[in-house]
Symmetry: C2
Subunit: 366 residues, 2 copies
């Protein structure tokens, strides 16, 4: 039985990459040792890091005035690092909130500095459908060092594709959507992503920062979380999480070999359309995000009759469709379909959903 | 040819552990997925983390009033975290310096608070031999929240086995010596170690902290570096570096199966004695640390005739003895022999050293 792993992260990795990594697990590049067992300052590992940065730049078409950094910790570490690196000398920031992660980012920044928040989501009291309303970002709102938002809320399955029109540098938590599709990097002052979704395994955050941002005055910050130090040392100020970087480097190569982000944008769109169609054409399931802002990476849905949920999840598990349980804070179901999830995984999920709906019919609501 | 990897870290891992990890690389515990691809909050991974903590407690006989934490980043992250967690409200700390890493720890703490330093090493101007002189730590030195030192200086190959007699809590950077031998944990307020030596691969730091230390007033600190938050969430406040924790858990089991730290203390002692004997009985090599404070984990030595060094390192490489080059800041040679290095590795190094000395005789210095 083919297993499809819909985990939100740590998440499914490309099977071809995993097989290659398994083959060279004990002996990498004729070193007589694993890549995990050699110095991060050895020539082969430095070459690997250079290639990884080069491939990130190629995949995302990163402009030359941006640094690409591999940093310790995941996105939560960056929630703090952003405030610590940019909010010295009484600086303030604006945080746009659209769900759990953008709210957490604001809460973390409040540990260090003054933060202004604005809600971007309106929920209909009758249908519970969430709409995103972009605020007008005008200079009279305040003197902000940056505006922060989360273009893909993993937990709610809510995506904001719109470019923000902002008088301040835009910082985006792209943990669950970086490498989903081509991106106009130049609209951002800084973007970041925890690695355990499209990039690889848990253990680092990828940061892409416009170099002029590093002129902003910092608060006291740990050297390993300091963008200036990390950039000056090409991400090896201290020992990076070498195995996580190694796997990410392989995944960047795999993404390029598949055809780059134009290829993934197409497949990701098709996977999401398949599953949303299965939701929208059945009385058995519902999704509560306005169609204009539905996430392609994280498709959330509920069983219309909540008593059917555990039976649905059990049927999915039995069919080899794993980790479809929604986030513990919101319940329901969630199908996370990052780049490693093939179209066949989405098709298998849709088959299961249709079969379950046929054998467990839901009465129309009066 | 058997390869022995003397890298200072990331370092050699136990072959038995690596073979097991390779076998279950694609499918862990019949999950149909790698351990890297599943949620850190899933039942199997939570069980793994509990077992890892249990095994750390068993190996080191950790008292019940200590927390065991798995934190992001390596020891350099802890350099900052210690100051940020304990030096709020104008707190000061005393840093004892015995080499590069204890000095770096003090420098990092100075980013956040006032730090007093004391040098513990005296170097003879004629022989260049380093002696460690423990200072009398008396309350009249100052009102310190803690005293920090590094019991094993990886770069210099200098070890301090003495227990400190201190009126303040003792914090020790044990990155390169934790799990070397049994330890009296109750003498410490906090110990920490980057994982890439005796514990496993780069990606986290192990912290063992006496719970009453968490009452000390903190400075603003990133949540992922906050000991209180990490302890309250059992090291999964955010996604840990799951694969590094998984490998560490296997290595803890392997250490227990070998006979625990009493076994390793014996083997580590024998390995070090072999190599130091080869140094001390040959005119070709010299070590510049007083015999009472020579490191068992990191044996440093120079060729008496520095012109022979590159030939020696080339001969070692050819014999499958890898990564014997000393740290880039001090040069010379260094044989790091953590728990994963078998006695046979030390024997192979000694054979090479004797053979090289015979074929490249050094003239006695007049």
């Amino acid at each position: 039985m083919t297993v499809y792993n819909f985990s939100a992260g740590p998440a499914m990795l490309p099977p071809a990459v995993m097989q290659e990594a398994q083959q060279e697990f004990l002996d990498w590049q004729q070193q007589g040792a694993s890549v995990m067992e050699i110095s991060h300052r050895s020539a082969p590992f430095l070459a690997l890091m250079q290639q990884a940065e080069h491939d990130v730049r190629a995949l995302l078409n990163v402009p030359h005035d941006y640094d690409v950094l591999f940093m310790h910790g995941g996105a939560r570490g960056q929630f703090a690092a952003i405030a610590q690196n940019f909010l010295g000398d009484g600086g303030q920031a604006l945080y746009l909130q659209s769900g759990l992660w953008s709210t957490m980012a604001a809460d973390e920044a409040k540990r260090f500095a003054e933060v202004v928040t604005m809600d971007m989501v309106q929920t209909c009291s009758k249908t519970h459908i969430k709409q995103v309303v972009l605020p007008a970002l005008t200079a009279d709102l305040g003197d902000f060092r940056y505006v922060h938002y989360c273009p893909n809320e993993t937990l709610e399955g809510l995506s904001i594709d719109d470019e923000l029109d902002s008088p301040w540098p835009v910082i985006a938590d792209m943990t669950s959507c970086l490498f989903e599709r081509p991106l106009n990097i130049s609209q951002f002052g800084l973007i970041y992503a925890g690695a355990q979704k499209n990039i690889g395994i848990a253990g680092f955050a990828l940061v892409i920062v416009r170099r002029d941002m590093l002129q902003l005055p910092p608060l006291p910050v740990a050297s390993i979380m300091d963008y200036r130090i990390t950039a000056a040392h090409h991400s090896i100020y201290n020992t990076p999480t070498t195995y996580a970087v190694y796997l990410a480097a392989k995944i960047f190569q795999w993404m390029l070999a598949q055809g780059g982000l134009a290829y993934f944008a197409d497949v990701n769109q098709r996977k999401a359309e398949l599953v949303y169609a299965a939701i929208d054409t059945s009385l058995c399931y519902r999704n509560q995000v306005a169609t204009t802002h539905r996430s392609r990476m994280n498709v959330t849905f509920q069983l219309t009759d909540p008593r059917q949920q555990s039976a649905f999840l059990a049927a999915a598990e039995k069919a080899g469709l794993k980790a479809l349980t929604g986030h513990r804070l919101v319940g329901g179901c969630r199908a996370s379909m990052y780049n490693a999830m093939p179209l066949e995984g989405a098709e298998a999920l849709v088959d299961l959903m249709r079969h379950f709906a046929q054998t467990n019919p839901t009465e129309p609501v009066a």
